[in-house]
Symmetry: C2
Subunit: 243 residues, 2 copies
């Protein structure tokens, strides 16, 4: 059975963390809402979310269908896929640790979103610009350093060395860290350049992931949706460090 | 080995979701930061977070110690404890579903926090009041209904009946839903009274959990920290529905 990912078809967003897991391992999957025809598109995704017959309805995309199983929440999807795709060690302690790293990554992502939407997701950015300006300043000054310092520390303290977040091999938290670094570079290029100077291990993980043949091929393919200002990472110059 | 919970000693916050799991099952645990002496208090908690010897440092409290294992992130702790405390069915599909429910509960909790801290956690509420007023209005009008409708739908569609979120017995997501309803009643009593009219199943779960002998005894004990305005659920009249 082919894995089916359901996510918004025009943004990277949270779905990108799942796409990266599939792509890095050359796993076959269908990105359902990007498929044409009656079984594709956003309507197919929304139908599945809202249908009475859906026993375990997800609160929001992304969600994964694997046979009879429907699994929502990005971190939950990765927890499920990790061992199946060979993207996490087999012992419980490492699996919980990989999940913990991912949950913290998702918390960070929520904060990224709220830099441009600090008041309401239902409003346009343009309707909450003063608040966004204030929140983004605090985000750049306090939150990005706190998260990057933590990831840097995790890498520095990994008994197997700083090349990976978990153990001595690629795991899905490495892919997620790649996405965080790539997203920050798009959204806040000046702040990212400044803050990366104190996060060399994080940058090295980003670079190593980008160079994996499977990931490099994905990034160069039309399957990779470009960063854009409908996603979670958005570039508004006024939210970045001053020039 | 006794479970050790590490969390801020003067608030319910995210730690309360773990405390409820222990208390509902009459499981022995130590709430370390509330203990006196050199091995207790906030210092013991912060020492463990920051010590070089801590191989898997949590990003933030709460975290759990069970023997050699240190587990951070509320939802991850509950995922670990669920089967050990008999608070989740044994099959993988139900365990993932219980976790998904909890992850969505934690997302909701983040949004509760940001109603009074929409700009920065490092600032006082008083320094972000206009923004909080705006965010709380959107939260009451759009977000609370969306989350409660989803929980209501999950309960209505449970093949085993609407008394529980997962299967036909108490599980940790029921305890978390109790906490959400209790918290909303404290923080936004007028909005909660209005919105609960459309969420009778959620209210029934809250009431049933509150009446469990173990939970009732806990709620009446000094172990239960009262809601207060240092926690995640805070009561500011101006953030509630107009009188």
């Amino acid at each position: 059975m082919t894995y089916e990912l359901f996510y918004w078809p025009t943004i990277q967003g949270r779905g990108e963390f799942v796409r990266l897991a599939f792509e890095a391992t050359a796993t076959q999957y269908v990105d359902v809402a990007r498929e044409p025809g009656p079984h594709g598109g956003v309507r197919a995704m929304q139908h599945l979310m809202q249908a009475r017959a859906t026993r375990r309805p997800p609160f929001a995309p992304p969600f994964l269908r694997d046979g009879d199983l429907l699994i929502g929440q990005t971190a939950n999807i990765l927890f499920y896929l990790g061992p199946r795709l060979g993207l996490v060690p087999t012992d419980e302690a490492d699996r919980l640790w990989a999940h913990q790293l991912t949950l913290t990554t998702m918390d960070f992502l929520d904060e990224v979103h709220d830099t441009h939407h600090p008041i309401a997701s239902s409003l346009y950015y343009e309707d909450q610009r003063p608040e966004a300006h204030r929140r983004a300043a605090a985000f750049r000054a306090e939150r990005v350093p706190k998260f990057l310092e933590w990831f840097e520390r995790v890498l520095a303290h990994n008994p197997a060395g700083p090349a990976h977040l978990v153990g001595d091999a690629l795991s899905y938290p490495d892919l997620s860290l790649f996405q965080i670094v790539a997203g920050l570079r798009f959204a806040l290029p000046r702040a990212a350049a400044r803050l990366e100077r104190d996060a060399p291990y994080c940058v090295a993980v980003h670079d190593a992931v980008a160079k994996l043949p499977s990931v490099a091929a994905y990034l160069a393919s039309p399957r990779r949706i470009a960063f854009n200002n409908q996603g979670i990472f958005r570039h508004y110059r006024e939210l970045d460090d001053p020039a």
